[in-house]
Amino acid sequence: MVAAMDCAGFLSGYSEFRDGLLPRVEAEAFDGHVASCASCARYDRVVRLGSREVAGLPPIAPSEDFMARLQHRLYTVDAERATSARAAGTSSMLVLALAALLGIAAWGPLMQPRKAVIVLPPVNAMAPQPRVEVPLLYRTGPFLTVDERDVPSAPSQGGSGTVFFRYSPLGSGSVFTTSIGEP
């Protein structure tokens, strides 16, 4: 059993009633109110007639060149897309090239081959004997030979400054040793 409907209730729920969205019981309550209330019945009639008039308004037709203009604009959109895609491709190539250059500049020194440092084990060697220069004073002839390696170490009587010579005159074959440096 649905409570009796008043005019305020009718007006507040009228749209759903008009569009047939109410359950059957509620719709019957609305129908009952329309039958009993002249003011709401008039309201219902005006809305129904008005809706019919609105639905019957002649549609306006698009201008004849509407589709042609639209096609032109769509063509422009396609052209813009193609241009921006090309520009994006070019700029991305530039960015890539710049990045590659920067990378080479930054990493280049590190990419060069390093010189190998060879560490050899230390070599133990004897220090060479000091060379003894023969004074020019004693180079009196072409046959004077001095073999420093043959110079014997200083005899017991020799001290520093003692030098031993082996004299070999031409053809004589005689060899004698004398010493200088000692008075």
């Binding site: 009228y14 569009d19 008039r42 009639r45 008005g50 008039e53 306006i60 509407f66 589709m67 604009r73």
Partner: protein, 210 residues
């Protein structure tokens, strides 16, 4: 040679006919697969409806046509983002509705547009009467046309939020759920706005219909 050309032309016609038979979602899918013709079919299908919707919402015919063009451009640009599980018609009406809303907002800031609207009405007032039906008497025709103008004026007089909902329901036959999606409102708001719009409309036209 002629037969080959004839066969090619026939197969193109068949393909075109098949495209035109597709529903909206089929056309969207076809367009996304590279069939440019599918978009033209979509535009053919919707441009008159959108023009009427935007015209009833804004009251400016020329501007409405520009906005319909803009709607299709936006659809063209962003169709790859369209969720194909939803209704295409709801999506395209949402775009149109937003453009109409922006237009009304801009117009309220720019008084020049008001002059253009006045000028448009002046043109209509001075246009000769068209004799749609010879069985009607001139006074009937005049009365009919007068009533039509008054109804149109009554729709235009509705507040913007109410008008959009009213037009979508009464002229476009959208469901409450679709209107909620198009206008970005919840269902309760749609019911409330539609109820108020009908109430306002009834107040305006009641003297004409009695």
């Amino acid at each position: 040679m002629f037969e080959v050309l004839q066969n090619t032309a026939d197969s193109r016609k068949e393909q075109r006919a098949r495209t035109e038979e597709l529903d909206d979602s089929g056309l969207v899918a076809s367009f996304l697969d590279g069939d440019k013709r599918a978009f033209t079919v979509l535009a053919d299908r919707y441009h008159a409806r959108l023009l009427n919707f935007i015209y009833r919402s804004t009251g400016d015919r020329e501007r409405a046509e520009d906005l319909v063009q803009e709607t299709f451009i936006r659809v063209y640009r962003h169709i790859h983002r369209f969720d194909q599980t939803r209704k295409f018609s709801t999506w395209i009406y949402t775009i149109s509705s937003n453009l109409a809303k922006n237009e009304l907002r801009n117009r309220s800031r720019n008084p020049l547009v008001l002059f253009q609207t006045l000028k448009k009405n002046w043109d209509a007032d001075h246009a000769p009467l068209e004799w749609e039906d010879n069985t009607y008497r001139p006074d009937d025709l005049f009365r009919k046309r007068h009533l039509r103008d008054l109804i149109e004026a009554a729709v235009e007089d509705l507040p913007e939020h109410h008008r959009v909902v009213f037009v979508l329901r009464e002229m476009e036959g959208k469901t409450y759920e679709e209107i909620a999606e198009i206008t970005g409102c919840n269902l309760g708001t749609v019911k409330s706005r539609l109820n108020r719009a009908r109430n306002n409309f009834a107040q305006i036209i009641a003297p004409l219909l009695d």
